[in-house]
Symmetry: C3
Subunit: 344 residues, 3 copies
């Protein structure tokens, strides 16, 4: 699919500077620009690239002033980054979209399937499943019995949803996501072995949730594990049984949340963070990567770090002194000597 500078400028309500007939079929970073692609310049640090880039078109802010000649066609817009985001979305939507039911696939006779769905080859749709309209199930997706999936949700190849879970609308799950596996619940017995506690609850995922590749969300022992509206989970995250992650919280890759913990709204959690079980985390909390959270956090907006984690500022101070411990030890040894001298 090709767009000319003129087409794009019209779409973005921008102004062309240079050859309006030049066309592009892809986007690129300005520093890696190639012929036939469109780049953008928003960060002043990257200005020097605009004189060398091979990109055919560059989006710039209205007030951009060039020092030298630029080979590329420019499109001047109010906000180059916003304009790019708009274009990326248009580009994404211009891609051909899979629709229809490929064969062989397995769709239970008792399943209800909305309009315009895509069911890829080798996808499995169990008994009494309800799929909303425009749902896309890529190849090898498994949707267990009695699952419901809302409109426009996309399950990429290989996503597994166990029986009885509820998925909202406008969600995107990436390959390898597992929703509704059994929670890790075992009752110790006298013989030092363990008896499985059946996990009879489910997982409820609300609208506008995106979940990264190979992330796991376990079903509740009883009741539900909740992922609320707008939550974004990165890859390889563990969400244990009966956890609740509240609206618009964002969690980076490889973080783990142990059973029954509740994370508030609008939190930002770094990568490889661990939460102990039965914790309660206030809204808008920020947690540095690799932290370990062993206590509930009640203060809205608190920023923490460390394992176990405490306030970010004090952690940073302690860590600087940790690095300086050898020096501190020398100070102590010097003082001990001096004291000995003085006591003579």
């Amino acid at each position: 699919m090709n767009f000319t500078a003129n087409d794009i400028a019209e779409f973005l309500n921008g102004e062309v500077e240079g050859d309006g007939a030049v066309s592009v079929n892809n986007v690129s970073k300005i520093e890696e620009g190639e012929f036939g692609t469109l780049s953008f310049l928003a960060n002043p640090k990257y200005v020097h690239y605009i004189y060398e880039t091979k990109s055919s078109i560059v989006l710039v802010n209205k007030d951009f002033v060039a020092d030298k000649k630029i080979a590329a066609t420019l499109i001047r817009v109010e906000d180059a980054y916003q304009a790019l985001a708009q274009l990326l979305e248009m580009y994404e939507q211009s891609k051909p979209k899979h629709v229809g039911i490929e064969q062989p696939s397995f769709v239970s006779k008792t399943a209800t399937v909305g309009e315009q769905v895509y069911i890829g080859a080798f996808a499995y749709v169990g008994s009494n499943v309800k799929l909303g309209k425009n749902v896309q199930l890529f190849p090898h997706v498994y949707v267990g019995d009695n699952v419901t999936i809302g409109d426009n949700t996309v399950l990429n190849s290989g996503v597994k949803v166990y029986a009885g879970c509820e998925i909202g609308a406008e969600c995107i799950f990436h390959s390898g996501v597992v929703i509704g596996g059994d929670g890790f619940g075992f009752a110790p017995s006298s013989a030092n072995d363990y008896k499985k506690v059946p996990q009879v609850g489910n997982v409820v995922i609300e609208d506008h949730v995106e979940i990264g590749a190979n992330t796991c969300v376990d079903r509740a022992t009883m009741g539900s594990t909740f992922i609320r509206k707008g939550v974004k989970l990165d890859n390889l995250i563990q969400v244990a049984h009966n956890v609740e992650i509240d609206e618009n919280t964002v969690i980076a890759a490889q973080t783990g949340v142990a059973g029954s913990s509740k994370i508030g709204k609008n939190c930002m959690i770094g990568g490889q963070v661990g939460f102990a079980g039965h914790m309660s985390i206030a809204d808008e909390v920020k947690i540095a990567a690799q932290s370990g959270v062993g206590k509930s956090i009640k203060k809205v907006g608190m920023v923490i770090q460390g394992s176990p984690a405490f306030e970010f500022g004090p952690y940073q101070k302690s860590y600087v002194l940790f690095k300086n411990l050898p020096k501190m030890r020398e100070q102590i040894m010097t003082m001990e000597k001096e004291l000995k001298e003085l006591k003579k």
Copy 2:
């Protein structure tokens, strides 16, 4: 499926207090109780919920004394938690169970298949595979050539078992589990690149093992990687080549065990723990979450924490002082000044 309070009381050998004809079709936590569900009350902290709960039936201990009127029907039993576990199991077993071979699936002519197995659509069973009776292979399971799987074992959708591995009876593997991928073995060459060391061993998993979603157990370079009887592994765990995890050890999510390490019996390992290679861990050892184990542990029942990990108590003490390093630094600076004064 519906059960009345009278039915349940009879099953549990309990005593009904209230309307014995009231019926339930699900369980819920007492604090989230809904009409038509059964809850339980065991923890004294939760007593106040019993007066508000909307659950239709609540299991209570024989000696429970109510202060106020309770809307729900009570069933008095010896031990409410045990009774609940019994009920959950009955509930679980009452669910319809998949049996038979769905189409399309792929079962090699040389495979041996026990009685009453379930082979879901798109499951793959390779050459010379042996499946015991009641084995359940959900859709998209892959069982490579020459694998054996014991009676009553359940492989959920998308489990992958590489050729030549041995799986015991009564095991449950969750979606995305990978058994028998190649160990990470490379011989450095002069040219700074690496030559693969073929991994010709396998994985042996004994009976009653449960493995969580997306956990990986690598095949041995030679011989076997062993997961012994009764071991429980949570989600997203890494078990490297030639590791051995001994009976009834329990490991929480996202822990990794490097090559050739041996973990004893009845250990309890927290989440996100890392073990270096060629370690040997005694029986009954407990390891706090996010610890890093860089040395073998010989003392049975030792409790450790930290990265690198050492004894739990001393770690806690050191960590408190780490938090107080800024104060310690001030003490040192004060003393230095005082010393200077004294030396004048």
Copy 3:
């Protein structure tokens, strides 16, 4: 498949000592040796096992001198470990190899398929895909539209490659690997929710790359995420969008690399390490397990540890003093008392 000691000695250009007609059909570690298997002895620490081993054949170095009688047939070679590696490779190659297209599978009419490929049952090959010769796609592999895969590459059961990614020759990806899932990119909006930034780039993986089970490599926002020639990634690793990992770098399990970071050539990265985004790591850097890298590293060959990480030696010293903090505190308290005394 059976080989006699005479066969093996001829293949390895070695010398038989004992019964040349004895045959083996497997390899084993000398300490776990069984009848009908071949072991090797290279490490002097393991010499005592040679007198007890049940292995039928043992490879030893030319200059090995026995103290006692040995039951096994010996084969003397220049270098027993190298000889073993040679044998493992021969053994591996002697295994029957899957070739041909199993049914049912899904291969788009617009796909180009090289000679001697294996496409397992339930594998999916999308539009305009190009598969080189001898490519092996095991069951349940998903290859999205427009993907190219080089000669001799093996994708084990359940590997998922999203549309538009490029995979080199001689690669091995293990089960559950996800290539090309969307990068984790969201633009915060005023309403405290997030708008997805479409990820329109791809992933480029060069030749001779091996990727472990359930590892994820995200597609770039624009341009490409690069895994260069000879890189080896262990299981459960996270590689975010626009990352570049340069030639022959080796990364252990459960490590995560955040967006746009660049890791140099010939680095060795331990398990469970975390890299912040936009970092740049020099060539030949070594990083201890569980470290957190929050700053770029410019020094070639630097060795670092800690979270946040700094130089290995100083980290070790600081950590020893961390363990000794309780003692340091006592020293300080003693001095404080003494000072008080002196000031009287």
